[in-house]
Amino acid sequence: MATRGAEQGRTDGRSDDEIRPVRLHAGVLNNAHGSAYIEWGKNKIMVGVYGPRRPSRQEPLRSDRALVRCTYNMAPFSVSDRKRPGRDRRSLEISKVLSEALTNAVLVERFPRTVIDVNVEVLEADAGTRCAALTAASVALADAGLQMRGLVSACAVGVVDGRIVLDPSRDEDNFGDGDMPVGILPSSGEIVLLQMDGALGPDQFGEALDLGVEACRRIHVLQRDALFVRYGQERASRIEKPHFSGYGDMDTIIMDDEADPPVWGEEAIR
């Protein structure tokens, strides 16, 4: 694929269509029914899935499908100024859009009157947390053995100095002109997460969208790799499973567009 806009340069030296390094691991927690850990640039996010299950508190259920209930939470130490613990408006909105996007990923009709809890814990935040969380969450859902329509893959597109760039960093997000997180179901090509704020010219919108969708497909390869490592080879045992930092023996998946990914049908997991 052609490298776009590399001549102008970005603050971290990436070309305009380059995604930050991503490391993604499935099945990293003991208790959660399914889990995934992602490092995406400096973002560090843990996702744990429980369900389908009956909730312990009484609450409205759906008679025709499972409720996917995502809770996005940021650790107090995840950002520069300590964040006060607890729910705020931003995390409430992100929880809602992630819940809705993930509802498309799971065959929710198969689990009526249940809840599937997807808990997202942002340990370190560096722009693009919702895309990283969504990417990891669908891997965690697959790790939980849920019957799925497909994984959801996500990546943000930004506008910096009038240029469309992929996966904006924190500086580019803060001082850029726009941010558009995109999440797709690669199995069908459908878009299930799309938000945007800032400014996109009439022609830029389509261009940004195309770039975002293409990036999601690259992310999808990493998701399949992570599940392959977890289930294909079984070399990562429950005890000695990969973790989120620099242990020598850790299975680290560095993004590599050239790699030929193993064929993997995530619909058939477990």
Binding site: L193, D197, A199, L209
Partner: protein
């Protein structure tokens, strides 16, 4: 949340009709409902408007209050957008609506904020010390779908005629707040594979998702939000974008 046979049949009917290009209220798929607006309806507010979009009705009140700037933007005013989904507006609001309310307020806020209709620097009183806080409060009285578009309309209209209440705070004479051009928010629901503009609550209930776009006068996209467990093809999103641009012109024209 259980679905009785009647509801299921009714839903199917709505879908089937849209599949043939028609809607229960005889609108075309790309047509908005009748819009009735009125401004300066609340004397206590510094700007206010009432919007009736079909069966959806809301009031917006804008208030300016002296406030402190954020440390990283010492010369800019602060803006807060809130919404009340009053239980009187819908039988379905008889439960926690925090997530829905927060999403609408934040999406609408982003569209207004990024459109530049209000330059936050104009809300500065004394850099680093005192700025105007602009509070935009949306009060929904009747909910028949598409609160996003009606809310942006209500805010835009409440801003027209907004004046700095200097006299109330002993700061001299009131004077009008300079305004840029208005943004327009357009929401499409996907039903039976079709994109329909300005969906009713019933249409939202049977839809396969919702996409909301705020368009500025130059045709630039200022905010987008996909929701409602939506799944749209790339082409559908691009078509929504084109439809939003042309519909924005229609709305803008009718309110000039």
């Amino acid at each position: 949340m259980s679905r009785d046979p009647e509801t299921i049949m009714r839903s199917q009917m709505v879908r089937d009709l849209i599949g043939t290009g028609r809607r229960r209220d005889d609108r075309s798929l790309g047509q908005m409902r009748p819009l009735v607006v009125e401004t300066d309806v609340i004397a206590q507010a510094d700007g206010s408007a009432r919007v009736r979009l079909g069966g959806t009705e809301l009031v917006v009140g804008a208030k300016l209050m002296p406030s402190s700037p954020y440390p990283d933007h010492p010369d800019e005013g602060v803006m807060h957008t809130g919404i009340r989904l009053s239980p009187l507006a819908s039988p379905s609001f008889d439960r926690d609506m925090d997530a829905e309310a927060t999403e609408i307020a934040r999406v609408v806020d982003r569209g207004i904020r990024h459109s530049g209709m209000i330059d936050m620097k104009h809300l500065c009183i004394s850099p680093g010390e005192r700025v105007w806080g602009l509070y935009l409060d949306i009060h929904v009285l009747d909910h028949d779908g598409n609160l996003f578009d009606a809310s942006t309309l209500g805010i835009v209209l409440s801003l027209r005629g907004l004046a700095f209440p200097n006299s109330r705070f002993g700061m001299g004479e009131d004077r009008p707040v300079p305004l840029g051009e208005m943004p327009v928010t357009l929401t499409f629901a996907k039903v039976a594979g079709e994109l329909i503009l300005d969906p009713t609550a019933e249409e939202e209930g049977v839809s396969d998702g919702r996409i909301t776009m705020t368009i500025d006068p130059r045709g630039w996209v200022r905010a987008v939000q996909l929701g409602g467990c939506g799944h749209f093809t790339l082409e559908e999103v691009k078509r929504a974008h084109q439809l939003a641009r042309s519909s924005a012109e229609v709305v803008r024209g009718s309110l000039r």
